[in-house]
């Protein structure tokens, strides 16, 4: 691309938190009409850099130039005034207020009143320009995640942003919503806006961006001028500093069925109910469950892990029928579970890591006696797992919530695998994790598979499911619409089944 005068230029930005250098001498610029990819592993300093640009952190060194002029950005208000808008990973919206009210916050009114008419006109204009339409009077809580993200983008444009920063915008979206986001971003760039797209998903960066900057350990590890024609493995090497080889799945050697579900149905208590679901997983086999989020995956995971009792149907684990559904009874039969949401159902963020790691088995003889817990045993267990799984943390008594996502996921994995489960059920095992951590998790799954463990992986990342699974079942509206051997499966075919288009494979 020819390079007109940059919209934004960051020169020599450094930022430390205590002894940790989050950013060191980072240079970066975005031209009007350009989509810049900012690539890096978790903890590489992407978010810190963007928080410096958006005024949340003051840099220790370096300067920021807006259209060639050096500016001090000390608050989000300064950033907005300089034409910089940011769409955070966790949306900054008030769910109970309306779309329009969320847009008008911080905008001065007309003669002391909220300028509703002006707001509506501006919203309609942005809708026309970029195809981003929203119902102004709907409360935000009634919007889908994709629509909430659209609102965040509109909010930035509403304030006259000429540079838009998007922090991992696709992490929360379904595959179909990603396409919509990308076309909106392309349209905005075509109209002269600058866009910084933060991600660690290589295929997305290659598909969308014009140029990209790769960060590693807070420094610029490389710049890619033509992402579309650069291979993913080359970019991954820049990100990680070494080659990443996907783990190889050994040949399938399934044993006897370990977990079977026969005609399981649930009520519409919360979310999509299950309707007559039957499946079986054999020893040494990984079964992937694909589907657009909200098609009964949560109910399936809850039934299998004993959290929710089905209305009809039968479940057996290792030949024994589950008569009473509770987490402790299915656990006693040999089930291990890694829940979808690490922070809310996975562990207790305010307690020490060690406590969270033994929580499901706190009542067993290993960790308690006569109704009293054995602190030394708990600590020793946690210490051993921290070592075995290379969980990066100051120690077992660290507050669990202080760990990074990858380390938490390792801790949850360690806590289940330490007890040699016969069946392991995991949901979204690598969501939000970087390549290195994801790779580690995948290897562990394949190790367990080789040892004869049955694993059910519920996920939306089809590439991951295809790599791990021996068979893939597709869920649609609470049913299993088909099961494919992964040798016969492709992303296109699974994608079609996920829309309910294909009844049986």
């Amino acid at each position: 691309m020819s390079t007109p005068a940059p919209l934004i230029e960051m020169r020599g930005i450094s930022k430390s938190f205590g002894a940790v250098k989050a950013n060191e001498a980072v240079d970066l610029s975005v031209a009007p009409g350009e989509i810049l990819g900012l690539l890096g592993e978790n903890g590489a300093g992407k978010t810190t850099l963007m928080n410096v640009l958006f005024g949340a952190y003051a840099p220790d060194a370096g300067e920021i130039l807006v259209q060639g002029r050096s500016v001090a950005i000390n608050s989000s208000a300064d950033a907005l005034a300089a034409g910089i808008g940011m769409v955070h990973q966790h949306f900054h919206l008030a769910p109970r207020l309306s779309v329009l009210e969320n847009l008008l916050i911080g905008i001065p009114g007309r003669s002391g009143r909220i300028d509703r008419a002006g707001g509506l006109a501006r919203l309609a204009e942005i809708g026309r320009q970029h195809g981003l339409t929203l119902d102004p009077d709907l409360p935000v809580s009634a919007l889908s995640v994709g629509e909430q993200q659209r609102l965040e983008i509109v909010k930035a444009l509403f304030r006259g942003a000429r540079l838009l920063i998007l922090d991992e915008p696709t992490a929360v979206l379904a595959p179909t919503e990603v396409d919509g986001l990308f076309s909106a971003l392309r349209s905005m760039a075509a109209q002269g806006l600058g866009i910084i797209f933060i991600s660690h998903k290589l295929n997305e960066v290659r598909a969308l961006t014009h140029r990209c900057v790769v960060l590693r350990h807070g420094r610029v590890a490389g710049r890619v001028d033509a992402p579309a024609s650069t291979t993913s493995s080359e970019m991954a090497r820049l990100m990680c500093g070494h080659e990443i080889v996907p783990p190889a799945r050994g040949p399938s050697m399934p044993g006897a069925a370990v977990l079977t579900l026969d005609g399981i149905s649930t009520s519409h208590h919360s979310g999509m109910a299950l309707r007559d679901v039957s499946l079986s997983v054999r020893g040494g086999e990984i079964l992937g469950i694909a589907g657009v989020s909200g098609n009964g995956q949560r109910a399936l995971a809850e039934v299998i892990s004993g959290v929710r009792a089905p209305d009809a149907g039968k479940m057996t684990i290792a030949g024994k029928t589950v008569s009473r559904f509770s987490p402790s009874t299915v656990q006693a039969l040999g089930l291990g579970r890694i829940p979808e949401d690490r922070m809310t159902t996975g562990l207790v963020t305010n307690l020490p890591l060690a406590d969270s790691m033994v929580l499901p088995r706190i009542g067993t003889a290993a960790f308690s006696r006569n109704g009293l817990i054995k602190p030394d045993a708990i600590r020793a267990f946690a210490e051993a797992q921290i070592k075995a799984y290379d969980i990066r943390c100051p120690g077992p008594m660290t507050r669990a919530g202080a760990l990074s996502g990858g380390n938490l996921q390792k801790a949850l994995l360690a806590r289940e695998l330490a007890f040699d489960p016969k069946v392991l059920i995991v949901s979204q095992p690598t969501r939000g994790l970087d390549i290195g951590a994801a790779r580690f998790i995948h290897e562990k799954f394949l190790d367990m598979r080789a040892k004869g463990c049955s694993i059910i992986v519920i996920g939306e990342d089809l590439e991951e499911l295809l790599m791990l699974s021996d068979r893939i079942a597709v869920m649609y509206e609470g049913r299993i619409v088909g099961t494919l051997d992964s040798a016969d499966a492709s992303i296109a075919r699974l994608g079609l089944m996920m829309t309910g288009a294909e009844g049986h494979a």
């Binding site: 989000s76 900054h92 769910p95 009210e101 916050i105 909220i114 304030r159």
Partner: protein, 314 residues
């Protein structure tokens, strides 16, 4: 019971409801502003008491009732600022600080009162507000004398309700208050100062609580006694929940409570003598508990209520 029903539609009874509702309406609106911004103010009981004291004292010493009202409002605003200093600026526990403000304000009120007036066998009183009939409107049968022949502070409460609704729902500042109570981070990233907005809302809330105190010592009782507030602040906190953090509903809740309170006063007086009067005294509170239990089931508090905002935290 027919005796009771007859009483309800008497002018005196209706006027009593309005009069009882007035301090509750001020206090409820004050607490509502504070909570909408995300700050629970358990200091309300003490703030009302201290304001009742300063208002009474200022009026008594200066001879001007309106100077007394001003003193009460300033006292409320000041104590609101104290509460905001601890809970908003320093981010301390809103429960603990609120109780602290109540204990401190009550203690200070008793102390200063003793200091200024000494210990007298007959508590000093003032000539309080007199009713101010509004021409024409007060001539409407039944409603006129009940509603439009009241203290000027009552009219202020009547105006305060639509004004509060307008400010909260129609002005940029009101939107900022609601936003910092729902998602302070969203407000912050939109360039709104969370700290300043919360301070303003808590101070405004305190000023309204001050008006409630002023009404009690300068219009209702015309004296300051240690029992002048007697739980009205706590009731206001319940009424805010009952009114779902909305000015109109909160004012409605205050009226409903006042109705039950006026009713029990009549029942005490109306010769159902064999029932101990304490039983009647309980009625409004039992009503509050039942109403809260029934009506507040799906009431949703402002999401950021009780949560201090610190910008550096991610």
């Amino acid at each position: 019971m027919s005796v009771v029903l007859e009483q309800i539609f008497q002018v005196g009874f209706l006027a009593a409801i309005i009069r009882i509702a007035t301090p509750l309406a001020f206090a409820t609106l004050g607490e509502m502003f504070s909570e909408r911004a995300g700050v629970l103010n358990l200091g309300i009981e003490g703030i009302m008491l201290l304001s009742a004291m300063t208002g009474f004292t200022a009026a008594s010493l200066s001879g001007s009732l309106w100077l007394g009202v001003l003193a009460a409002v300033l006292t409320g605003a000041l104590m609101g600022a104290v509460h905001a200093l601890f809970t908003v600026a320093l981010g301390l526990s809103q429960h603990v600080c609120g109780i602290g403000v109540t204990l401190f304000s009550s203690g200070l009120a008793y102390f200063l009162y003793r200091l200024i007036f000494g210990q007298q066998s007959v508590p000093p009183n003032i000539k309080g507000f007199e009713t101010l009939p509004i021409p024409i409107l007060s001539d409407i049968p039944v409603l006129g004398p009940a509603v439009f022949n009241q203290f000027s502070l009552v009219y202020m409460a009547m105006l305060a309700i639509p004004l509060a609704a307008f400010v909260l729902y129609r002005t940029p500042w009101g939107l900022a208050v609601r936003m910092v109570g729902e998602n302070p981070r969203a407000a912050d990233s939109a360039g709104v100062s969370v700290i300043a907005t919360r301070f303003q809302a808590v101070i405004l809330g305190g000023a309204l609580m001050g008006l409630a105190g002023a009404f009690l010592s300068m219009a209702q009782f015309n004296a300051f006694t240690f029992g002048v507030v007697s739980g009205r602040g706590w009731v206001a906190i319940a009424l805010v929940v009952f009114g779902r953090w909305d000015p109109w509903r909160s004012a409605g809740a205050a009226l409903l409570f006042a109705f039950v309170d006026a009713l029990q006063l009549r029942m005490q007086a109306s010769g159902l003598g064999h029932i101990p009067y304490e039983a009647f005294l309980m009625l409004p509170f039992i009503f509050t508990i039942v109403a809260m239990a029934v009506m507040s089931r799906n009431a949703v508090a402002p999401s950021a209520l009780l949560k201090p905002f610190r910008r550096e935290e991610r």
